[in-house]
Amino acid sequence: MQNAPIHILLADDDEDDRLFFTEAFEEIKIKTIVNTVIDGVELIKYLLLPDVTLPHVLFLDLNMPRKGGLDCLIEIKSDNRFKDIAVAIYSTSASNEDIEETFIKGANVYIKKPSDFNSLKKILSEVITINWQHHTSSLNKDNFLLTL
């Protein structure tokens, strides 16, 4: 991650959230390439672009119009081309049902959108510096929800 930039993709319908997200990465001292899409339909379209570079980490909002985050998660994890993308659920609520369901469907980490910009920067940098191989092999319900 020192030289090659990390490819990051965010699917979120909220314009403000997309803005904070990109601004946060601008301020994080890690080389990243951040792309955003406005909903699930756009996300799948993006992933299927002919000359696309697949993201290392996909941040997925759950509550989106047209196609929600859970449907996208199921589609991605059941497609051989995309199933290796690390999926971070990025949602306002952290209800038990949502956490449980996304865990079962194969998401790699769950983060609750913070209400403070500094916290946002902190948690995002933590997510992109996760050693996914190690994290995935020791993943369980208790360490699935990432908290600061």
Partner: protein, 599 residues
């Protein structure tokens, strides 16, 4: 029902008694008849023997007189020489022979008399030959007087012997008669007394039987009267309760309906002859198989399932019936199927209405869930955006903003934070209500440890110390109890005194509900009483109950931030566990919350 049954049992046992009495009476009657018969036979026997003796006497006297006739006739002839005197003499011997024949018959069964008769016969024969000799002597002329005299003397000796023999025979027969008479007297001497005793005994038995039968009749009368009342009250109860009863005699295939059965079918009581076919005519066509299946179950499998079916009343109204039946076997081994039909139409309607209400409730629950979702997402979303913008403002415009501006911004931030906490707590409160209650055997010590982790920040900040006794392992909804600990301990830390580190003590004991006056119950159920006490601000005892009410706060929010929801959640959680929660407070000393969980 009981007294009637008892009476009937009494009558049944008394029937056995009466049968016994009848048998004894019959025996006595036969005995008396037998004795009388034997008696009569003896009497006839005795009379016959008297007649026999009499006949023998007469015949012997007659025999003697025939011999005398011959003697007298001979004498007359010898004296007068008139041949007319010879007439009786000639007839005498024939008559003697006839008499002998008669006597022989009479003495047929008596050897001694037969022998005597033989001797008599010889004596008479000798007498007659003597008479012949006397004739011959008297016929010689001249008459040898001495020879005649000797012959006549000889005749007198024979005559005396004959008389003696006759009287001997008469005496003997008299002796026989006396002997028989004595035997007869002996035989019948006890009979009158015995017969009298038997008669008295029979009389006693008859009186006793009459008394018994009369008693039974009275019981029957009373039982009948009671039965009538019971039947009446039964049919009254049937009418009020919408119940009907029926009996189906399986031997005679006869069916009996109670009056109310007809009424339930919309007919006049006893207005038609009840049959299975007739009843099935009333059953809703789609439910006929249910009724038939039910019968088969009872008759073939000996099972008594409760069946539900519809009937169509005479006026066309559809009613719902519930039917129960039972096979009974009476004392004569006859089988009868008895059953009860309930008109459950009203209950059925209520059930339908309830189902409808349930559906509505489910619908409203769904709406509530979707409201929760909206609240958790859509209401919080803009607040969070505001929070982030505020944090951006504070950071980016730190140098350009006036102090007043910074202060206002701080107040906005606090309000937004409060708003979010409020929404989150409300959500938690509603979830405590609706979430599926899955009880698990859980070690409460672990849940307490989890709560401490939840509160780690606050504990550290205020240097709080928590002492806890060993807690039990019981059946609870784990995350709710953890929430309960978190809320109560969180409160203790939050409402602690400034400059004094919070000290929280958790104790646990097993108690019986009725021993705890504050629970106001007489139940003997056992509970674990978990008490959490602190050294914080406390509260006045008058607020002990109101603090559990939603949105009730004892502190104004400038000093202590709270939503007034935490303790309401605690109360709800405890109620979910069928337990109790009570609080005790003393202002500026501390508060104790006691949670009672069923053990």
């Amino acid at each position: 029902m009981e007294p009637i049954k008892m009476n009937l049992i009494k009558i049944f046992t008394s029937t056995f008694l009466l049968k016994g009495i009848f048998a004894i009476s019959l025996f006595i009657l036969i005995l008396i008849s037998g004795i009388s018969y034997k008696h009569t036979l003896s009497l006839a026997d005795s009379t016959e023997s008297v007649v026999h003796t009499y006949k023998v006497n007469i015949q012997l006297e007659q025999l003697l007189s025939f011999v005398k006739d011959a003697e007298i006739g001979q004498r007359g002839f010898i004296i007068t020489r008139d041949s007319s005197f010879l007439q009786p003499y000639n007839a005498a011997y024939v008559n003697v022979l006839i008499s002998f024949a008669e006597l022989n018959k009479l003495a047929a069964n008596n050897i001694q008399q037969q022998n005597n008769l033989e001797s008599l016969h010889q004596l008479i024969d000798s007498r007659f030959s003597n008479l012949e000799t006397t004739f011959r002597v008297s016929a010689q002329i001249p008459v040898d007087k001495s020879l005649l005299k000797a012959s006549m003397l000889n005749g007198k000796i024979f005559m005396d012997k004959i008389r003696f023999q006759v009287s001997k025979m008469i005496e003997l027969d008299m002796a026989y008669l006396n002997e028989r008479q004595a035997k007869y007297d002996h035989e019948i001497s006890f009979t009158p007394l015995f017969t009298l005793l038997l008669m008295l005994f029979a009389l006693f038995i008859f009186i006793f039987s009459y008394w018994e039968i009369n008693k039974d009749l009275n019981i029957l009368k009373i039982t009948n009267a009671n039965l009538l009342i019971k039947t009446e009250s039964m049919s009254h109860a049937e009418e009020i309760g919408g119940i009907s009863s029926w009996q189906w005699n399986l031997e005679s295939n006869k069916l009996i309906f109670s009056d109310n059965q007809y009424l339930l079918l919309g007919c006049e009581p006893q207005s038609f002859e009840p049959t299975i076919e007739k009843f099935l005519e009333f059953v809703h066509p789609k439910d006929k198989h249910l009724v038939i299946d039910g019968e088969i179950q009872v008759l073939e499998n000996n099972k008594y399932p409760t069946s539900f079916f519809r009937i169509i009343r005479k006026d066309g109204e559809v009613r719902h019936f519930k039917s129960l039946s039972k096979l009974i076997t009476d004392i004569n081994d006859k089988k009868t199927l008895i059953g009860i039909n309930f008109d459950v139409t009203e209950q059925h309607k209520t059930t339908l209405a309830l189902e409808e209400r349930n559906k509505e409730l489910e619908q409203s629950n769904k709406e509530l869930a979707s409201f929760n979702h909206v609240a958790s997402h859509d209401l919080q979303e803009p607040l969070r955006i505001i929070q982030i913008y505020i944090s951006r403002l504070i950071e980016k415009e730190d140098t350009t903003m006036t102090d007043k501006g910074k202060e206002y911004l701080d107040k906005i931030k606090m309000s937004v934070t409060r708003m979010r906490t409020l929404i989150e707590d409300l959500l938690l409160f509603s979830r405590t209500n609706k979430i599926e209650k899955v009880f698990e055997k859980t070690n409460l010590n672990l849940l307490l440890e989890n709560s401490k982790l939840d509160l780690a920040g606050a504990i550290e900040e205020k240097n709080a110390v928590i002492y806890s006794e060993e807690l039990p392992t019981i059946n609870v909804i784990p995350f709710q109890i953890q929430q309960l600990f978190t809320n109560i301990i969180g409160n203790s830390i939050k409402y602690s005194k400034t400059n004094i580190a919070p000290c929280i003590k958790i104790s646990c004991e097993k108690i019986v509900a009725k021993d705890q006056p504050e629970l106001k119950t007489k139940s003997t159920k056992k509970y674990f009483k978990i008490s959490i006490s602190d050294n914080g601000l406390g509260f006045e005892q008058q607020y002990a109950e109101s603090i559990f009410i939603l949105f009730q706060r004892l502190h104004n929010d400038k000093e202590y931030i709270g939503t007034g929801i935490g303790l309401s959640i605690c109360k709800k959680i405890v109620e979910n566990h069928s337990g109790f929660i009570i609080s005790q407070g003393e202002l500026n000393i501390g508060a104790t919350f006691s949670v009672f969980l069923p053990s």
